[in-house]
């Protein structure tokens, strides 16, 4: 085969054997997406064939030689209704089918494992809850729902995994989420698909799908020594958050124990669910988000803390389920980082723990 040009060789080997018209189906949603895509291709081909056949046959039947005098026809309500209603029906079908897939892709199941992704010019930083950090790579296990929480540190980016048929914009100042469940082992492309400046086309990486067993080993191998929540705990201490959010009776800030997911009453009236987005906002723009009963004295942390830092703090707050836990954090301020004796897992309820 040496006489075949390498480009054509590549075409024969890689494109024809690995790909047809679509990348490999490596996630649970991929076959569902492809079914709709095939339906649409089919409808398009039929539609195009009808138009081409009509144009060609009218051109043959009614060309001037064969049909020298045109017959004037005003129109036909019946025919026009037909080609209004049939396309409309087909389009509506595609709308409903598409919407079902859309809601599936962007509605993560409650038990999904969360991984944070920060986009910045020009790399993807992936933060696993266990503290594993990756750049331009994402390791995931098969058979487990994985939710990505995305944010950008600068401009718009877009996190695209064609083999999973999922894509989500990473937006500055706002969390977005997407989820998937990988089904097929392998290494797949990860692209940034939103134009983001000079090295946009180098903001690419690999998604590695592993067996759950392999994945567990990978997690251990890639351990950075501290979980995301522990990173957050250190930040909580070093930014002196505990000076006010210390859960004491005279505390100047509200206690953060069990705050994640709770319904908060705001000083401005109204209530809000304390989710990732709210916590991020409350850290960066505290004056806009004052909890009822507290003075608006918290300074802004805008510009003092990176998106990864905010994520670590949120992860820490998520795991805070007792005031005791916060007191433990207070003590860590006296200790050098890394030597604190706090266990990564907090006690389940306050009552079970001795102060």
């Amino acid at each position: 085969m040496s006489h075949i040009s390498p480009v054509i060789w590549q075409f024969l080997v890689k494109w024809l054997t690995n790909f047809a018209l679509l990348p490999p189906e490596a996630s649970k949603i991929a076959p569902q997406m492809d079914a709709l895509l095939f339906f649409m291709v089919l409808v398009s081909l039929i539609g195009l064939t009808i138009v081409v056949l009509l144009v060609v046959s009218f051109s043959i039947l009614y060309n001037k030689k064969r049909h020298p005098v045109a017959v004037q026809i005003e129109g036909s309500t019946l025919l026009e209704a037909t080609w209004t209603i049939i396309p409309l029906g087909l389009f509506l079908m595609m709308f409903v089918w598409g919407a079902l897939i859309y809601f599936r892709v962007y509605t993560p199941p409650a038990n999904a494992m969360n991984i944070y992704v920060v986009g910045k010019q020009w790399m993807w930083k992936v933060e696993h809850p266990g503290g594993q950090h990756e750049i331009n790579a994402l390791h995931v296990p098969t058979g487990r729902a994985v939710q990505l929480t995305l944010i950008s540190q600068d401009v718009f980016h877009s996190f695209s995994i064609p083999a999973f048929r999922v894509k989500r914009e990473a937006i500055p100042g706002r969390y977005t989420t997407v989820w998937f469940e990988a089904t097929t082992l392998g290494t797949y492309h990860l692209f940034c698909t939103q134009y983001c400046g000079t090295n946009h086309s180098q903001m690419i990486g690999d998604v590695v799908v592993m067996t759950p067993e392999e994945y567990r080993k990978w997690l251990v191998r890639s351990d950075s020594g501290a979980s995301l929540a522990q990173d957050g705990e250190r930040l909580f201490a070093s930014l002196s958050c505990a000076a006010c959010h210390n859960a004491r009776p005279d505390a100047r800030g509200p206690s953060l124990a069990n705050v994640y997911g709770a319904k908060l009453a705001l000083a401005s009236g109204g209530t809000v669910i304390a989710d990732d987005a709210y916590l991020r906002e409350a850290i960066l723009n505290p004056s806009q988000h004052v909890t009822q009963g507290y003075a608006p004295i918290m300074p802004t942390y805008q510009g003092q803390i990176s998106e990864e830092g905010v994520i670590a703090l949120i992860e820490y707050i998520k795991n805070l389920n007792s005031d005791y836990r916060i007191e433990q954090t207070l003590n860590t301020t006296d200790m050098p980082p890394g030597s604190e004796g706090t266990a990564p897992k907090a006690p389940a309820t306050k009552g079970t723990v001795k102060p």
């Binding site: 679509l22 060309n63 020298p68 045109a70 017959v71 025919l79 389009f91 509506l92 595609m94 500055p172």
Partner: protein, 555 residues
């Protein structure tokens, strides 16, 4: 009557171009630059948009050359980014938006409705000057280093992260926008106020309906992009923070504003092209357009629905799921009028008496390519599949099928169709038929592989790409070469025809429009007596009566 052509030319040995016409009435450069004649302004536009088309086309050539190989080897990524940005800016704002309306619309709207000129002739000239000011500013920007935001100017990239000439490019688009607004306004006033006696709304050629719908979009949507650009400029210079999340702004707001214009802009570009197709198909099948009212109202429907679909550009950007539902549904609805048009044009051929001159070949090209472009639009309008396809080469292929396969084909159909009226001479038929076929083949070879690239996931705006995508890119680049030949040919033979083309006479196509019932090229006043419209549009029987009377008088 067994020949396979409708062309009826005067006896070439005695025929002369009329001595007095809009071209010969006055001489000298100033008589052109200071003219208020809509026909001369249309010619000015024709020359200038052709110039910008070839600049934009050269940039496209550079893009395709770079993508011949997976690595970045022809130019640095920054250069590549500038090249595709300028390609987009020039093609969208300085070619596609003004293409049919400012040339063919400008020339023929007054003539088709039996008027002497547009309602506001001086404003019309001002439009051209604004367009040129914008265009030259864009060229100046390119000369001093260009801009690399993409033609979409997405914030915060354009406001905080690039150091290139965003402000001058923004100003160029801003100024050109006013040209578009004034043209639209001029058309609306003209169509309302300047129709000849008897020219009721439902006797208007469909070309006029299409332009009326497009004009409404120009007047209502363009100011919004102007505002968006001003906000980008203020954010860049003063840091007002409307789009800056650290100051409480919303970076997505820019995209709402931008697409509020730029989606209707797609219809600004395509509607006038659809108008051309209606005229061409009717003339070359000798039949009234099938379902005139449906085609007329489908233009209006596209214009109305076109305003409410902009957020389909943002399905994956975290707008609310319910907003996605609404915008996806409306997008499906806007696809229906386009389908109606395609079928109505097809059935116009039914029981016609068809001849296959170049304009009809281009119109057939339009119908095929626009059908593909429209159907793939549905792939993207359906929210689920949009997730996989958006921001890939699928989108690039889709809008090139609509804009280049659709609009450019329609533009070329129109230029060939009205060339004898504009210049008084015929273009050479055989070579132009060849050009139409070459364009069609080149186009498909260039852009069809990009659909597959997009399905496979290749992102747009990439200077380098994984090697498995190379073969399809090679096809695409090869096709672009053929396409380039297809576009160069008309320039050459049309210029040739200015001197050597056969003399066309008043109505070489035996077409029914009022513009054909006067001399070619027309007088500066268009008509010697005010025309009275006493028949329906596309009334070929009326035309025959008219010609019999004429022959009787001459005999």
């Amino acid at each position: 009557m067994s020949t396979n052509t409708i062309v009826s030319l005067p006896d070439q040995s005695t025929a002369r171009i009329p001595k007095d016409n809009y071209i010969t009435r006055e001489n000298g450069l100033l008589s052109w630059l200071l003219t208020s004649d809509h026909k001369r302004i249309a010619i000015l536009y024709l020359i200038s948009i052709t110039f910008f088309f070839f600049i934009g086309g050269a940039l496209a050539g550079l893009i395709r050359l770079e993508l011949l190989t997976p690595q970045t080897d022809l130019m640095a990524t920054d250069t590549y980014n500038k090249v595709f940005t300028m390609h987009g800016v020039i093609m969208v704002f300085f070619f596609l938006v003004p293409s049919v309306p400012a040339t063919l619309g400008n020339f023929f709207i007054p003539m088709m409705i039996g008027a002497k000129d547009l309602a506001l002739p001086k404003i019309n000239l001002l439009s051209w000057y604004l367009y040129m000011a914008g265009g030259l500013l864009a060229l100046y920007t390119m000369a001093i280093g260009g801009v690399d935001t993409g033609w979409t100017f997405t914030t915060p990239l354009s406001t905080h992260y690039v150091n290139t000439n965003v402000l001058t490019t923004g100003l160029a688009v801003f100024v050109a926008g006013f040209s578009s607004i004034l043209t639209g306004l001029n058309f609306i006033v003209t169509i309302h106020k300047m129709r000849a006696p008897g020219m009721t709304w439902f006797r208007l050629p469909l070309f006029i309906w299409a332009h009326y719908a497009a004009s409404i979009l120009m007047v209502l949507a363009t100011p919004v992009v102007a505002i968006a650009i001003v906000l980008v400029a203020l954010e860049r210079t003063l840091g007002i923070g409307v789009f800056d999340p650290t100051k409480g702004g919303d970076p997505l707001l820019f995209q709402h504003l931008f697409w509020f214009y730029s989606h209707p802009a797609v219809y600004i570009m395509i509607l006038p092209g659809m108008g051309v197709i209606s005229e061409v198909i009717s003339t070359f099948s000798r039949k009234r357009v099938f379902g005139y009212t449906a085609v007329a109202f489908s233009s209006v429907a596209i214009a109305v629905f076109g305003f409410f679909v902009w957020a389909h550009h943002m399905f994956i950007m975290g707008i609310s799921n319910y907003a996605v539902l609404v915008f996806s549904l409306l997008t499906m609805l806007v696809a229906v009028p386009s389908a109606i048009k395609i079928f109505n044009w097809t059935f116009t051929l039914y029981k016609g008496s068809i001849t296959f001159e170049t304009p009809l070949l281009y119109a057939f090209g339009f119908m095929g390519l626009f059908t593909i472009g429209g159907m793939t639009g549905v792939f993207l309008g359906s929210s689920g599949t949009d997730i996989h396809l958006t921001e890939t080469y699928f989108i690039v292929a889709h809008f090139h099928f609509v804009m280049v396969g659709g609009m450019l084909m329609a533009f070329l159909a129109g230029i060939h169709f009205w060339w004898p009226k504009m210049t008084g001479r015929m273009y050479p038929e055989k070579i132009s038929q060849l050009a139409a076929v070459v364009t069609f083949i080149g186009f498909n070879l260039t852009f069809f592989p990009q659909f597959i690239l997009g399905m496979l996931g290749m992102p747009r705006r990439y200077a380098s790409y994984p090697p498995e995508f190379q073969i399809l890119n090679v096809f695409s680049t090869a096709g672009a070469t053929i396409l380039g030949v297809g576009y160069l040919l008309p320039v050459l033979y049309l210029i040739w025809s200015l001197r050597y083309g056969a003399i066309a006479g008043d109505n070489p196509w035996q077409a029914t429009g009022l513009e054909w019932q006067t001399q070619s090229p027309p007088l500066t006043e268009n008509f010697t007596v005010m025309p009275v419209m006493d028949h329906e549009a596309y009334d070929y029987e009326w035309l025959e009566e008219q010609q019999k009377k004429e022959a009787h008088r001459a005999g």
